[in-house]
């Protein structure tokens, strides 16, 4: 097992150890989330922490940031032992954390968010002008000239991330923990973020960086620490390793990270499952969120929609589910024109959406795994006028088995599952409605490599069984391996369409950033 240089001393290239966590252990009733993990944080460097969901990354970060307290182990800050009883104490010591689910107040302005609970006051009155001025300075330093008076709810995800960073900077952080900062960002936003991280690093800030995007880790990281099942699996300078090494340490074996699917064969049954013609979705205040979008999807085909944030991908799904009565154009499912069908009506006709935001739109957190799975098709289990528990159990267990949902017991609360398994529960729920068209919006967002591969495998198998699958992702590698066809959206317009075998990352990125049709023209019956 590779170990990093022993803590406390300066390493060869001059970077200095700022924080050492020794033998950190965190026990919860019944489980050990962290088991004697050593973690060294270098100043002026990006310290990457990686591991599958449930490996203990979040727990370790919460301990470092004072949100949780370790069962045993000690922390040395600049060589002297520290113990944080609260996040405030950690912040005082210069440790800031940006959670994956951003902790911003959408109803407050940027500057109010940055100075929340630390308002600059004179005589008890908040000095808004001063706060906004300071915020402007911070934002300029981050090269993001946003208006400090803008409400956070009006910002894009990427911009909200910037606000979080500005907030941390305003507290003079020396150690900044970022938990999956890019999970909701587009390529351009990610690049901007990396730029900022580079600046912070140059200024001597130690970044602790958690992500599931492995390529990204090696681009940005200086030191990589891998956790597995709550234990330290390996640690190494980033330059000495590659993606395969990380995956091997993460899962404890080598894995085929990019799996290839045999493109859907041209079927005799060529009638499209889904046909969208000239879909327009007007935007409040003029213009269009979706403009003249047309697409066709056949049985057994996987069509991916690629695009930057704000390209209209999620809105396209919302239109398909009938959520925008103001949209115009034609949507046909199995040749039947959809008009005013409710969501239930559309589900019954054979279409089902796995929404982007698992927590907000996909799951009922207060229900068990079992009840989440059967939620969308309760009628299926009705005997006389009540639910047949026996039949429910049978189908729930079949789903858990088929999708390999890792749960000790289907009666467990859904929140006790890892992100990947929660996503599988949402998919299981969708499959129980027996859809012919399955729509997945960012199905792999925020889940670990292993679970991602499983989700793709599930998608492949479903397509082979004849399901038409429409999915949205902002991760390029997924575009190259999974779908039969990729359609690119940019600012609400289709700017490209590519067949699986004629697809390059460059084309996609180019089309996603453009306003005109750049894709190679496709024959009408492209799959033949």
């Amino acid at each position: 097992m590779d170990q990093m240089e022993s803590p406390g001393k300066t390493v060869s290239n001059g970077t200095k150890v700022v924080l050492v966590a020794e033998k950190m252990t965190k026990r919860f009733p019944g489980t050990t989330a962290l088991d004697e993990v050593d973690f060294t944080v270098y100043a002026g460097a990006v310290n990457v922490l990686v591991g599958e969901n449930g490996a203990g990354k979040s727990t370790l970060m919460k301990i470092l940031a004072g949100v949780e307290r370790a069962t045993s182990g000690r922390m040395l800050l600049d060589g002297s032992p520290v113990e944080f009883k609260s996040a405030r104490e950690a912040a005082h010591a210069g440790i800031g954390i940006i959670f994956q689910e951003l902790n911003l107040y959408p109803n407050l302005s940027i500057s109010e968010n940055i100075f929340v609970a630390r308002e600059r006051t004179r005589g008890g009155v908040v000095q808004h002008r001063l706060q906004e001025q300071l915020t402007s300075e911070l934002l300029n330093r981050l090269e993001q000239p946003l208006n400090p008076a803008t409400l956070v709810r009006d910002l894009r995800m990427g911009q909200q991330q910037i606000v979080e960073i500005a907030k941390a900077l305003s507290q003079n952080v020396r150690i900044l923990i970022m938990d999956e900062p890019t999970s909701a960002l587009t390529a351009a936003e990610t690049e901007a973020l990396f730029h900022i991280i580079g600046d912070l690093r140059a200024n001597g800030v130690a970044i602790i960086y958690i992500s599931h995007k492995l390529e990204e880790l090696l681009t940005i990281g200086d030191y990589v620490t891998v956790l597995r099942d709550g234990k330290l699996a390996a640690a190494s300078p980033a330059r000495a390793i590659n993606v395969a090494w990380i995956i091997e340490k993460m899962v404890g074996r080598t894995v085929d990270a990019t799996r290839h699917r045999i493109p859907a064969a041209a079927t005799a049954d060529d009638r499209p499952v889904l046909e969208v013609k000239n879909l327009n979705l007007p935007r409040v205040g003029g213009g269009f969120t979706l403009e003249n979008v047309s697409l066709t999807l056949r049985r057994g085909e996987i069509l991916a929609i690629f695009g930057l944030m704000g390209a209209g991908r999620t809105e396209l799904f919302e239109c398909l589910m009938g959520q925008h009565p103001e949209a115009s154009g034609e949507i046909c499912l199995n040749g039947r024109k959809l008009q005013h069908e409710s969501i239930r009506g559309r589900i019954d006709l054979g279409m089902m959406l796995v929404p982007e935001d698992r927590q907000r739109l996909g799951l009922i957190q207060k229900l068990s795994v079992a009840h989440n799975i059967t939620l969308a098709n309760l009628q299926r289990f009705v005997t006389a006028f009540w639910l047949s528990e026996r039949r429910e159990i049978r189908e729930i267990n079949a789903m858990i088995r088929n999708l390999s949902i890792k749960t000790q017991n289907p009666q467990q609360p859904i929140t006790s599952l890892s992100g990947g398994n929660q996503q599988k529960v949402v998919i299981a729920k969708s499959l129980l409605t027996e859809p012919q068209l399955l729509m997945l919006d960012e199905p792999t967002r925020g889940i670990d490599v292993g679970a991602k591969a499983e989700i793709f495998e599930i998608m492949n198998q479903l397509a082979e069984k004849g399901l038409a699958i429409l999915f949205v992702s902002s991760e390029l590698p997924e575009m190259l391996t999974i779908p039969d066809r990729v359609m690119v959206l940019s600012k609400g317009k289709v700017t490209g369409e590519f067949l699986h075998d004629r697809l390059s990352e460059e084309d996609l990125v180019l089309a996603a950033g453009s306003r005109q049709q750049t894709g190679r023209p496709l024959p009408t019956h492209h799959l033949n």
Partner: protein
């Protein structure tokens, strides 16, 4: 991790095995509190644990419990219904009006009198109507449940007072010639030695518990309260569910109104005032989360019994009315505090996978 669609893991449904005794005791706290209270009062007052007193106690509880059953459905969806007390009054006045005055048709100079079963049905329908009005405000006009039902509270109470110019409909015994006698039986009669009121509570509670736990409707109520948007995207008609729970709540309140009027053999327009608070207290004591999505019908019944035992026991002990209020308030607050503790405990258990 490559996977196949037919891996052999075969989980089975059973009770969660990791459930510690502590958590279990915590969950059953309302029931434990009930037994403790019964024990304490039995020791302190020889009159408490007697068949006669227990029947009185359960009878008193039943009125609140029936309302609380409806309230539970509403609170499970994350809503609240402040209008139930007024609906009690309105339904009571309606029964009084129908028995004593009938429906007058001025034009023909006649009055139509209904028999008692018909009157019960009409009053229950009135409850449904009030509930539908609440539901309409909440689903169609997006009024917050608190405000919508607060408005209905005033409207229904005002209407109850208007119905007889603020006066009571006395002596609701009916007239044999009109064929509308027998109304007092509802509140005073008994079957197999047990008051009808208690039977009604048992039936309402049993049906409600079954509906909540075993039917698609019940499951959807929990889902709507747990996460409205996710429920909607799962094809649940959220508005229909909300509409239904307020109608159920109105129906339960109307039933309570009928029972109260029957017990008093009179319909007073102020009857039911502040009953909504008792109902909400019973639901909360029973462990149903005010934010929706979590709770159970049996808990509500236990909650109503806790309030009933407390009231009855303190009366037997000769505790001053004012102290009774203070103690009841403290018990309700304690229940919510414990509820929060349980939530935290469960969150910490869930966090172990973070």
């Amino acid at each position: 991790m490559p996977t196949t669609l037919d891996s052999p893991a075969a989980p089975v449904l059973s009770k969660p095995s990791g459930l510690s005794v502590g958590v279990l005791l915590f969950r059953l706290r309302a029931l434990i509190a009930l037994f403790v209270l019964i024990g304490v009062f039995s020791v302190l007052s020889s009159a408490f644990f007697t068949e006669q007193n227990l029947i009185i106690l359960v009878g008193q509880t039943a009125i609140n419990a029936i309302m609380a059953v409806g309230m539970t459905f509403v609170i499970l969806t994350g809503g609240i219904d402040l209008s139930v007390g007024s609906t009690v009054g309105l339904a009571a006045m309606m029964s009084g009006l129908l028995i004593n005055q009938g429906v007058r048709i001025e034009l023909l100079g006649v009055a139509i009198y209904f028999n008692i079963p018909m009157i019960i049905v009409i009053c229950l329908c009135l409850g449904l109507l009030v509930g539908a009005f609440n539901g309409l405000l909440i689903t169609r006009f997006n009024v917050a449940p608190f405000i919508a039902t607060l408005g209905t509270l005033y409207i229904a109470r005002g209407t109850a007072q208007l119905s007889n110019n603020g006066a009571t409909f006395p002596n609701l015994v009916g007239n044999p010639e009109l064929g509308n006698t027998g109304f007092p039986i509802l509140g005073a009669g008994s079957i197999l030695g047990i008051p009808i009121v208690i039977w009604i509570m048992v039936v309402f509670a049993a049906v409600a518990a079954f509906v909540a736990a075993k039917t698609p409707f019940g499951r959807q109520v929990y889902a709507v309260g747990g996460n409205e948007r996710a429920a909607e995207l799962s094809g649940i008609y959220v508005n229909r569910i909300k509409m239904s729970v307020y109608m159920i709540c109105g129906l339960c309140a109307a039933m309570t109104g009928l029972i109260t009027a029957s017990q008093l053999v009179a319909a007073h327009p102020a009857v039911g005032e502040s009953y909504e608070l008792n109902a909400i207290a019973a639901v909360v004591l029973g462990g149903t989360s005010l934010s929706g999505g979590r709770g159970a019908m049996w808990g509500t019944i236990v909650g109503a019994l806790v309030i009933g035992v407390l009231t009855n026991g303190l009366v037997l002990l000769g505790v001053q009315e004012f102290w009774k209020k203070v103690i009841t308030g403290l018990v309700i607050i304690l229940a919510v505090v414990l509820d929060q503790l349980q939530e935290r405990l469960q969150q910490r258990l869930a966090l172990k996978r973070a």
